[in-house]
Symmetry: C2
Subunit: 361 residues, 2 copies
């Protein structure tokens, strides 16, 4: 990934966690860390920790095992990482390794950004969502009771190691949630990739390795390209948030962890596509229907939760980070594969859009 002197390699393949050479290339030899702290959670540790540890022989390896779940993505859990590091007297030359999904990756990256004002870290994402989204781009952080991802830092990992084999132990709903983000890249950036996804949805759902590797690689490339042009989210990068403003509102309304992030984004993307078509009829109604068919292959939701009303949406959308002042900025499509961020739309259209989704599920 190209970010000047903060660029880093992403390696994608099968059997990488068992491949001590690859692990050592990234953790041991190339970067010469002597102290490594693997941060993971109670679900992942029993499955993959020993495998990773066996690839790190010869280093001082400590493990910090966090509770599993978005509801633990907060400053208190972050502090557990600092406690692990301080108890073992890890210094500024230490390296953190995030072994887990987005929650582990976001917290580990933020801990690396803050521990002694900054140490290195490596991402080994174990969910499809984190492989194609949070492990690339350098956004790290924790939630606050008043808002998601409100506390954090931009911190790039030194490398990302993506082993597609880990997807075999991932619950189907979490795999689907990751696919929502994969589909997003097609929508905002690459219409050919969107078409490829329509044609290969079955192979992906069956975890066919070649299809998976291509989809993950393409997703990482698209995200990395966008991030490289706009590392600290001044402009372009905001298009990555297609469906996220609506999605965050759904997640917040439901309570952290009740809806998976990708599930909420799936609904949010559908809402954004309908809004895009209302504001720009050349987009066509067919795209929403194509998106719904694709989401349904992966059994992703296409309606917001029962009982969520217009005020619920608007209240939770107003603290979204993409806002400048009171406007609610949305990512909309001009056409398939091309997105833009705007707050230039009639509030009445937004209200009508939300209403069109209420009571439909």
């Amino acid at each position: 990934m190209e970010l000047g002197d903060r660029g880093y390699p992403i390696v994608i393949g099968s059997g990488l966690l068992d491949d001590a050479d690859t692990i050592k290339t990234f953790v041991r030899n190339k970067l010469a860390y002597q102290q490594v702290c693997v941060v993971t959670n109670e679900t992942i540790a029993p499955i993959y920790m020993e495998q990773l540890r066996s690839s790190l022989t010869g280093l001082q390896v400590e493990t910090c095992i966090l509770p599993d779940g978005e509801k633990y993505k907060n400053l208190d859990t972050l502090n557990q990482i600092f406690t692990c590091l301080l108890q073992t007297k890890f210094n500024r030359k230490a390296c953190l390794v995030a072994l887990g999904g987005g929650v582990v990756g976001d917290m580990t990256g933020f801990a690396a950004a803050c521990y002694q004002r900054g140490i290195d870290f490596i991402q080994i994402p174990t969910t499809l969502l984190s492989q194609v989204d949070s492990s690339v781009g350098g956004k790290t952080g924790v939630n606050h009771v008043l808002g998601k991802n409100m506390i954090g830092a931009f911190k790039q990992p030194k490398s990302v190691v993506i082993d597609i084999d880990v997807l075999s132990t991932l619950p189907a709903a979490e795999f689907a949630a990751g696919m929502a983000e994969v589909i997003k890249y097609g929508l905002i950036w690459d219409q050919d990739f969107f078409t490829w996804l329509e044609q290969n949805a079955g192979a992906l759902k069956a975890l066919e390795p070649r299809a998976l590797t291509f989809a993950i690689q393409k997703s990482c490339e698209i995200k990395a390209g966008i991030v490289a042009e706009d590392e600290t989210e001044q402009g372009l990068r905001a298009i990555l948030n297609l469906g996220h403003t609506f999605g965050h509102a759904i997640e917040t309304h439901a309570g952290y962890g009740v809806w998976l992030h990708g599930q909420a984004v799936a609904v949010g993307m559908r809402m954004a596509i309908r809004m895009s078509n209302w504001l720009n009829e050349s987009l066509g109604e067919e795209l929403e229907a194509r998106l719904v068919r694709l989401l349904e292959v992966f059994e992703l939701p296409v309606y917001p939760p029962d009982g969520m009303n217009r005020d619920d949406f608007l209240t939770h959308m107003a603290v979204d980070k993409k806002n400048l002042n009171a406007d609610i900025r949305l990512v909309l499509l001009d056409k398939l594969g091309q997105a833009r961020v705007t707050s230039e739309y009639p509030m009445s259209t937004l209200n009508r859009l939300i209403d069109s989704f209420i009571g439909q599920s």
Copy 2:
């Protein structure tokens, strides 16, 4: 201060808090913030908050009042700042203003570094220590129960406004603690300034404005010059920690907040000077005596606390951030006005040094 595009102005003078033009130049006009959150504490708020607020008319000004004291410099108190910002729906274009001493400045800067992954902040330091030390250089953070300043970020303020009038309400012990850092700048960087301090100690103790302004300006210049050469503390900047490794051990042993930082540094500098002389006799014994006389003018301590033993020192020194691996790196003087960082000394000399200070107070 020169740090490429992260450089910022430092203005020093009398009556600045009452000077709406200056305040507005720095907060309102030049940087065009619309939302300002002044972070201060229970001690400072009643004395200076209304004065500052009257200079900020026309902006959305919120106040976040923290408990006063080093013991509150932790993640829980930091979270109070985030809660203030989220309750008032402050966005990424908001600006934090730190009105207070080093604790307020460090926490406000760290909050600014983390809130929505980074917003701007301005320092208005109200203690001599923070005016000459923490408000310049961009180190921000909080303590962990297992170590001081272990969690933080490098974050430069957009400007620093130093009103020397606030020193009239500062307790004498805190003024003295600030002088310890001023004296440090002479020791590590500028022998003429050290001599000037010896000659003007009485005027400084009497809060004579011209002497104060010169001493603060000189201190900020020296610190800014060193920081500009080494913003993220890879090398040179470590000389600013003269006396701090010993000092941190004293502070940690006594419990946060029992000894003032500058008081501990005063003792630590004396220890570092004696060690320097033992390792390099050309420095001469006279410098330690001159330092002790100068510290005593300001009624600063010159011995560690009763009952602190060698193990207490070594245990607490081992988690100091300046350490690489197990070595304890120390800042030592080659001569007055010239310092270096080293871990190349006999452990027996360090043990003997600590022993020479035990049971002396």
